[in-house]
Symmetry: C2
Subunit: 534 residues, 2 copies
C-alpha cells in the first residue's frame, strides 16, 4: 500500500544483515567470500544468494487497519520483511515465517495513540520498534497471535530542545544514534552513549533495553543519563518530571527503563548530555597473564579513577584483535574530559597497572588537548579497528556456530566463574562442532565486579543449524545463571533470554511486574512474550 | 509484658527527642534554656516538663498476639510511646494519641514471618521500623486501623559477611549507622553512607527511603550502594541476585529501594563498601554573591571531578553557621580517596571556583595523606561543627515554626525557582509569624541541577501550633511542586509528603505501583497510608 502523504525518509536498511542496504556486499564480494571461506575451512562453502525483496513470499496480512490508520501503515514486502527479525539463517534464504501484518510509522503522538488504541481494542500484538538491532529477539513478532502490528518509531527523530545550562536535551525516541549526535554536535554537545549497535539503534531502544554505553566505568548505562521519560501505554500517557535527583518513592523512570516495550512505547525523554571531550589520554598495558590483568583492572576501578575505557582483553582475544603474542592480556585504559587535562588520572591508572605486573612504555601513554583522538595506534588502535562494526556481513547465510554472551559477576566469584563458563562453552562446542574457540573481554567494570563478554566460535562443518547454535548459547547462559551471574548485562531479555531471565529474577518481583503491566496494558498486547507471560 | 528470653540490648532511645535517653537535657538545662529563650525572644517562654514514661496514659492495646508471638512483642509504655512518632509537640507534653498496639522485635526471619503473617491474616497494620528518624511521619502509626503492630528490626544488627575482594558486605537491615561502621572498621572498610540522621537510623531505613549520603556528587544515594536486597512481603520472600550490573528487565532492587515499607520489610542487603579514606583535601571558597557561588558549583560538577563534598551555603547561612559576613556565599569543596593523593583534583576545583569569582587562599587548601581529617578549622570547620547533630534538644516542647524542606531542580530553572520558593516561604512566615528567616544550602549537586535545602524559622510568639508550622511547610512544598521540583530529595514521602507526592508522580505509575503492591500485600497491611492508598 503506497502512502499518500510525505514521510521523513531514512536510508533503507538491510532486511537480512545489520546495517543499510548500501552496505550490503555485492554478488562479487559474496563469491570471493565463498572462495576464502572454502579455503580457510578446507571444505566447499556455499553462500545462499541474497534475497530480493520482490521475490519474497510472505504470509498475507491478516488484519486491515481503518482508513485513518492505513495512511501511516505499510504492508509491502520490504517493510514486513525488514521488521520480521526472526531466524536470521532462514531469512537470508528468503524464509520470513512470521512477519508483522502491518508496520505502522506514526508521525505524531495522536497517530501513535490511534494505532495503540486500535490494537488494544482488537487484541492485536504491538511490537515497539526502534532500530531493530536487538540480538535477543526483542522485536521479533510473537507466535500465536492473529494480528501483529510493529510500530516503527522512525518518524520521531528530532532533538526537540537543548537546555545548555542544565546540560540536558529533550529527544524523540526514534532517532538513530548518528542522527542524534548530528543534532547535538553543532551545539558542542554529545549524549556520549555509544553502544556497539550505535549506528543501527535508537534512543527509545536504548532506554527500553537498559543499553550499555562505551564508557567502561561510572555513568555509562543509559539508565544514568535519563532525566525523565514520556511513554504511551494502552491506558494512557506516563510522563515523569525532569529532576536531577529524587527520593520520592521508587523511581518511576526505573520502571520504564528496561521495560522492553511491555508497558508502553517511549516517545521522548529528557537526557543528560555532555560537552564534547577536548582532553584525552590513552594507554595500553600488557600483562603476562590473564590473572594479573584482571587483578590490575579490579584495583584501578576500586581506586575510583573512573576511566572512560577500562577494557581487558584475554590473551586469545589480545592476539586475535590487537596483535599480541597469545600469552599476554591487554588492558586498554583511557580518560576523556571536556574541561581538564587527563595526564594525572592516566598516570595514576598506569601506576596501578605497573604495580600489578603491567607493561606500559612511557611513550605509549598518549594524551591530547584539542579534541584529537588518542588510541589510534599500536595494539590499542588495532583493537579499536576490529571492534567497530563495519556493517558488512559477507559470510551471512552459512550455518555456523558462533556468537557472544555477556554477563556480570562479583570479583570474588569471578575466577571460578570464568573457568566454569569457559568449560561449559568448550564442552558444548566440542559436542556440537568437534571443537572451537572461546575468548573473553571486559566491556564494563564496577567496583564490585566485571562485566565479562564471551565470544565463541565452533569449528565449521556443513549443515550446522540454528538449533546447533542455540545449544552452545544455552550452555553459556546455563553456566551464567547456575554460577550466579546475570543472563544479560546489556543485551536485554527479549524473547531469546526469557528461560534464563525467569530463573534469575525474584519470583515475587515477576508477580509484581505482571500486576503492574496488567494495570497499564489490560489486554496484554504490548510486546507479548518479552519479560513476562500473563 | 516482660520478655522471657534474652534480647540484644541497645541504648534506650528518647521517646520525645532525636537521640538516646542519656543525651536528654537535665531539668537544670531546661530551666537555663527557658531563661535564655525568654531573654532572646523578650517574652516569657515556658518549657513543658519532660514526660516520664511511667506517667503516660496510653490507649490500651486493642489486640493480643498468640503466645508464640507474644514472646517478642512489647506493650509497655516506653516501647509504645517510643514508636508513636506522631505530633512531637503533643508528645513532649505526654499526649501519645495513636500508639501502636504492639511493638514486635523479631529476632529471626522465622519470627518476622510469623508476625507479618499474623498481621496480614488479621488485617492489622504493620509499620516497619528502623531507627524511627523519619521526618516525614514514615513510621507513624496510621489512623483508622483496629490493630497496629510496629515491627522494630533492632535485633537484625549484624554485618554477616564481608567480601573484601568485591568490596561488598551482607548486612542486616536493623543495624544503626554507628554500629554498622563499628563492625566494618576493624577490617579497614566503611559503607561511607552518612546521612545527617546517621546515629539514629538504620541500613534498612536508608534503603527503604532512598537515603542521601553525605557525598555531594556521584555515588552518594543508598541506591548506588545496593548490590542486592532481601525483603519479606506478606506473600513471601523477595530476594535479588548479587550483581555488579545487569540489563535484564527493570531492576528488581529499584522497586524495593524507596518502597518505604509498603511492599515488605527488608531484612538484609549486600552493600558495596569502600576502603577507609587515607587522602583528603579540603578548601572553602567565598563568593561575593549567591549567584557567583552557584554558577561556580555548576561548573565544578559539570567538569565531573566528583568531589566528596560540594556544599554551597547562601550568605545568610554562611554567616549564621560559618561566621562569614552575611554578604558572601561559602562553597565547601572536599575530596577523599583510599588510594590516591587528592592534590590534583582539589586544585582543579579551586581553579574553577576562582575563575568564577571565588576567593580561596592557597594556605586554605588543606590536604592530608595519613587518614587525618581536613576541614576542621576556619569557616569550613565552623560550619561542620554546626552541622553534626548533637542529640540534645533543650528547646523542645515550645510551639515554634521552623524546619527544613529539600528538593531538586534543573540548573536552568534554578534561579527563578529559588526566588519563588523563598518568596513563598517568606510570605507564609509573614502571615503566620509576622516574619522570619529563610536560608538555603546545596546538599547534593548533579550535572543537571542542585538539591537545595531550605531552612526556615518564624519569629517567635506564644501559642504557635502544629497547624501553624504545617502552614509554612505547605507553602514551601506547594512552591516545589508548582515550579517543577520534587517534594523530597532525600527525606522520603512518608505520610507528611503524600499530598505533594500525589501531584508529582505520574498517575499511571501510581496505578502500576498500586497493582504491584496488591500482588505482594493482598490485604494491604504494609505501612498503609505511605506512598499509596488502595
Amino acid at each position: 500500500m503506497a502512502t499518500q502523504i510525505p514521510f521523513k525518509t531514512h536510508p533503507r536498511r538491510s532486511i537480512w544483515m545489520f546495517g543499510v542496504e548500501a552496505d550490503e556486499p555485492t554478488p562479487a564480494q559474496r563469491t570471493e567470500q565463498e572462495r576464502r571461506l572454502s579455503e580457510r575451512w578446507a571444505t566447499r562453502v556455499a553462500l545462499p544468494p541474497i534475497p530480493r525483496t520482490e521475490d519474497l513470499k510472505l504470509r498475507a496480512p491478516r488484519i486491515k487497519p481503518p482508513a485513518a490508520l492505513a495512511e501511516f501503515c505499510r504492508t509491502d514486502n520490504y517493510e514486513r520483511a525488514l521488521h520480521t527479525k526472526g531466524d536470521r539463517l532462514k531469512e537470508i534464504r528468503g524464509e520470513f515465517e512470521n512477519p508483522p501484518d502491518l508496520v505502522a510509522h506514526p508521525r505524531t503522538e495522536q497517530e501513535l495513540e490511534a494505532i495503540v488504541e486500535w490494537c488494544s481494542d482488537k487484541g492485536y500484538a504491538v511490537v515497539p520498534y526502534g532500530g531493530g538491532s536487538s540480538s535477543a529477539n526483542g522485536v521479533t513478532p510473537p507466535d500465536g497471535w492473529d494480528g501483529i502490528v510493529t510500530v516503527d518509531m522512525d518518524q520521531f527523530d528530532r532533538v526537540l530542545e537543548i537546555d545548555e545550562t542544565s546540560r540536558a536535551a529533550r529527544i524523540q525516541a526514534g532517532v538513530y544514534g548518528p542522527h542524534l549526535e548530528d543534532q547535538l554536535r553543532p551545539h558542542g554537545y554529545t549524549l556520549r552513549h555509544f553502544p556497539q549497535s550505535f549506528a543501527g539503534s535508537t534512543l527509545g531502544g536504548w532506554v527500553a533495553t537498559r543499553s550499555g554505553g562505551h564508557f567502561a566505568t561510572n555513568h555509562t548505562h543509559i539508565d544514568d543519563f535519563v532525566e525523565s521519560t514520556r511513554m504511551l501505554t494502552p491506558s494512557g500517557w506516563w510522563e515523569s518530571r525532569r529532576l536531577p535527583g529524587s527520593g520520592a518513592g521508587p523511581s518511576p523512570d526505573r520502571m520504564v527503563i528496561g521495560s522492553e516495550g511491555t508497558l508502553g512505547i517511549i516517545t521522548e525523554a529528557w537526557m543528560r548530555i555532555q560537552r564534547r571531550p577536548q582532553f584525552r589520554a590513552t594507554a595500553g598495558a600488557r600483562f603476562p597473564s590473564w590473572e594479573q590483568g584482571y587483578e590490575a583492572t579490579r584495583q584501578i576501578v576500586q581506586a575510583k579513577l573512573w576511566p572512560a575505557n577500562l577494557r581487558l582483553l584475554d590473551p586469545e582475544l589480545a592476539q586475535g584483535s590487537a596483535g599480541l603474542d597469545g600469552e599476554h592480556a591487554l588492558l586498554i585504559i583511557s580518560f576523556e574530559s571536556a574541561d581538564l587535562a587527563q595526564d594525572w588520572p592516566i598516570r595514576q591508572a598506569v601506576e596501578i597497572a605497573r604495580a600489578n605486573g603491567g607493561i606500559v612504555d612511557d611513550a605509549d601513554i598518549l594524551t591530547s588537548s584539542g579534541g584529537e583522538p588518542t588510541g589510534r595506534g599500536g595494539a590499542v588502535g588495532t583493537w579499536r579497528d576490529a571492534f567497530i562494526p563495519r556493517g558488512t556481513d559477507a559470510a551471512a547465510g552459512i550455518g555456523t556456530v558462533g556468537g557472544t554472551v555477556e554477563t556480570s559477576i562479583t570479583w570474588e566469584r569471578w575466577p571460578e566463574f570464568d573457568r566454569r563458563v569457559r568449560a561449559a562453552l568448550h564442552a558444548a562446542l566440542d559436542e556440537v562442532c568437534g571443537g572451537g574457540t572461546v575468548n573473553c573481554r571486559f566491556t564494563h567494570v564496577y567496583t564490585d565486579g566485571p562485566a565479562p563478554y564471551y565470544t565463541y566460535a565452533g569449528r565449521y562443518r556443513e549443515g550446522l543449524t540454528a538449533e546447533d547454535a542455540y545449544a552452545v548459547r544455552k550452555a553459556g547462559l546455563d553456566a551464567f545463571i547456575e554460577h550466579g551471574g546475570t543472563v544479560t548485562h546489556h543485551h536485554a531479555v527479549g524473547r531469546l533470554h526469557r528461560p534464563w531471565y525467569d530463573r534469575q529474577r525474584p519470583e515475587l518481583f515477576a508477580r509484581a511486574l505482571r500486576a503492574a503491566k496488567r494495570e497499564v496494558d489490560p489486554n496484554w498486547v504490548m510486546n507479548p512474550g518479552v519479560l513476562l507471560d500473563p
